[in-house]
Symmetry: D2
Subunit: 303 residues, 4 copies
């Protein structure tokens, strides 16, 4: 089947679930999003990109940004970085403090909030303006110079950051942060508040499908490093639904509470999907179903 | 045996343990205290007070202040207050976040840090300047108008408050605080940083031994309320060593990481002891031994 | 007020709660008990005993037996026994395995099921037929030679023992049991299945109110040991409601899922109450209320 | 590189780690194994098989058997089976009871011990003699009619089964087992005690690499089902090291405390490796390193 047909079929199926799930409500600026949005985009290794639905509408990437900050940190670090953050699935909700206490301030993996705060802290130590560095990278890879932090979302998120502040102060109490909590939080909030479309996301993630090579042919990561980020996406990318995602979709993926999910099909393409309604674990209901359908139609599960 | 003899015997025994335990080290201003201090004071219902050793030397009361803030809050509240804070032993360390997550932001009891933050938050809502109100109360009951917040300790503690900030933001994320985290923390730190001697503490706590009556004969609490605070001290006053304390000492007690322990012998007296070396659960090693010896000599266990 | 009047007043108040709570249902033989029963008995140090309501009707003592097996074990052990079992409140349900795993097979205290299995295991090592030894002791102290294990309850309980078997095998996996799991379970079930009336229980517990002295004047325990069992009853005797019990009732108490609660007023008397309806933590609803009322009327809280 | 060369290179590297790790010691019959063994076998979709080292020496498959019992159960079940067992990584040790209590007796996934007991329980309900059924299947797929349960290991394991008995009774207490605990345990122990060589295992697992097709061309599972078992192997196959395994090795794998690890390279081959020394999470140290080296040399990570 032609790939444009595949995306259309996926979109037709998705249309039947329209409005399923609950738009996240603990960040007021995100709670206002129309739950009926649906978009999907696929970027191939040659940089060509296809899409259906609201695939060019920007939305708040939220936790999907964690994939890119991790990549930027790993590009400039060695294996010793992994002494600061683990890479095991957490088996807990994305914002849980329980494991953090059992493991004395070392987050389970870079994709739960605690781990992402540690990654941001590392990136700040490396480049200073972490979210600015991230934004520059995303603009270049997506070819979209207009990408911006949504300041409205960032302000709303900063005003409702108690849980993340608890995580950050908790890590600070174990001495596992290098920068002030306020700085780390600010940078973390800004990176989560970047607005991107499915098109932008799929293009920006191509380096993960292409052995670490950026769009301009330079190597951001070694092939091995790229594969390893994909492995972490598969085992930890969708919080306490990572097993479910691997079982149903079968490819590396990273979700965000803005309703986006980014998937990587190693050696082939990157796929981004968006629909704001979330299940109780914080993953887009329609997005999960769409990716499930997509890998069924294409047979592109990694398993 | 005469009571002055009892205290002397207790002090002699305590002298043999001199220097046991570790002075707390996570608040720099407290880490400098000489570990060899030992004092004990006993205040009787008529207001007479006896002491041995460093019983008139002020030290940082730290968590012992939680008894008094709780009393001030209960004096102005009804039973509905207990929907904000539980009264069960926690079975966990004083600064654990684990239970707080399992119980969705409702602290187990008013004497773990999370619970004390909630009590302080309540007192702020009632009187505004919570630590000022507390200080006024303590000055009056102890008859010592010179009691003060140790600003050096308070500043040091505020600069090392990550764990308590984590607890406070965590509760705030569940909506269980009414005042801003920064305000609650500031007031909490100030009340912990009050400096008092064993003499001051024993006198200030007499209302708990005397059915709720203050030194001037007015009732702060009903008899029932006073007994209930004593019950909470017995079951929750020494963190995850409450069972040990009940077993060995057998009277209500509240410890602080400054090395003080305040005990109440209902209907008889209040006893305060101080020695800075702590065991791994945060209770004064020599203080515990001294109170154990004291209740053995007097037979004044409540059991 | 005369003590007989006090018990009548307590019974009148209790009558208004008649039928509250749920009869325990996971042991079929106990589920058939009429929820409207209520009895209370008070035994004084001289052996005189008063009662109201169904105070002479036998019921299944269940976990109340744990007080007596602990006493028999402590009578024949030294402090090293406490390396096998802790004495801290658990903060968890009576049959929880969570803490047991965190603490590598050492139960928190002798009154949660895991701890009681360890106590029974110890008593088996000391006397062989633990439940027979217990029964002989209870007959003598209660002056009731007809006390028996209810074989119907024991059989029903043995057939529904999966949770306790899990606890016992779990401890065995840590090497903390000396006797075979099947033996320990059998003896544990038999001791829980002893049927006693409020009258029997109050008399049998007098040694705890009387510094360790048995009815015949001999010393089962030292005064210190008796006080320490009382301390453990207060901090751990009513599972995760120990704080609540200390707060409301204010005396040492031990409950059983048969609906009984045994209370000790040190130096005065022992009180047993029975009403089968339980709250969600496994304590008799009417029994708790009756004891609350009793200590309010008499002022006999230890605090 | 020719595949035989690859295996030789892997074996050479492995030789340098010879003897690393600790042979498991809690089952006496397994503790006697020589820690210096090393073998690796690779079976291709056409049934050809290559090996190096002790690749034809039988060892105790232990938890690797869980892959095959799961396949046999899924072959005869529908999706409703997943209401009995989850498919999320556990983030805990293989024999932990903590999550089982939090999740009321529903095991996290079929590859932790609790989950495998539930799978065995299901297989017993389907076929009666679960371990016999499994053995017949393994004989046929491996082409080795001599495969047997090692009765010596089975007896030793049955005599040291307290932890698994705890898990089984715990599930039984929630009503989540259909067959008697003793039956489930017996069958579970027998399937774990099957002895197989790397050669046998690689051949027996080919259906997972080949879309569910058995060696005789018949379909045991649908393609989708086979992929899903692979997904569960990747996310849950190596206990609390699943993230590490995905990160380093990057293919589905299932380990056993006998020192074996079975890996599936979807669409290509199955690889089995054996070396008895375990790391602290229960995975073969040399086996992990060998598979890491193997996927590095071949580039056959799924990512």
């Amino acid at each position: 089947m032609e790939m444009s047909k595949v995306l259309e079929r996926v979109a037709e199926e998705a249309a039947q679930l329209r409005g399923a799930g609950m738009v996240m409500d603990y960040i007021p600026a995100l709670a206002e999003v129309d739950p009926d949005h649906f978009g999907i985009a696929l970027a191939e290794l040659d940089g060509s990109v296809l899409g259906v639905g609201d695939w060019e509408t920007p939305f708040s990437v939220q936790s999907i940004s964690k994939v890119f900050t991790l990549a930027l940190v790993l590009a400039g670090s060695d294996e010793s970085f992994w002494q600061r953050v683990g890479r095991e699935p957490s088996g807990s909700a994305f914002n849980s403090l329980v494991q953090l206490e059992h493991e004395r301030g070392i987050p389970r993996n870079p994709f739960i909030n605690a781990g992402a705060l540690a990654v941001t802290d590392e990136l700040i130590s490396m480049v200073g303006d972490a979210s600015g560095d991230l934004l520059a990278f995303l603009r270049e890879e997506s070819g979209n110079p207009d990408l911006e932090v949504d300041e409205n979302v960032a302000a709303s998120e900063a005003a409702h950051a108690d849980r993340n502040l608890a995580l950050a102060h908790f890590m600070a109490s174990y001495g596992t942060l290098r920068n002030p909590v306020a700085t780390v939080l600010d940078q973390y909030v800004r990176q989560c508040s970047i607005a991107m479309s499915c098109r932008d996301l799929a293009l920006a993630a191509l380096f993960l499908a292409d052995r670490g090579f950026r769009r301009d042919g330079s190597a951001l990561l070694s092939c091995r490093q790229a594969k390893r980020i994909n492995a972490i996406m598969l085992t930890c990318g969708t919080y306490d639904a990572a097993g479910e995602f691997a079982y149903r979709v079968g490819v590396p993926g990273k979700s965000g509470v803005g309703g986006g999910i980014l998937s990587v099909i190693p050696g082939r393409c990157a796929v981004a999907v968006w629909s704001p309604g979330l299940d109780k674990r914080g993953n887009s209901v329609v997005g999960m179903a769409a990716l499930d359908h997509f890998t069924t139609l294409t047979g592109w599960s990694v398993f």
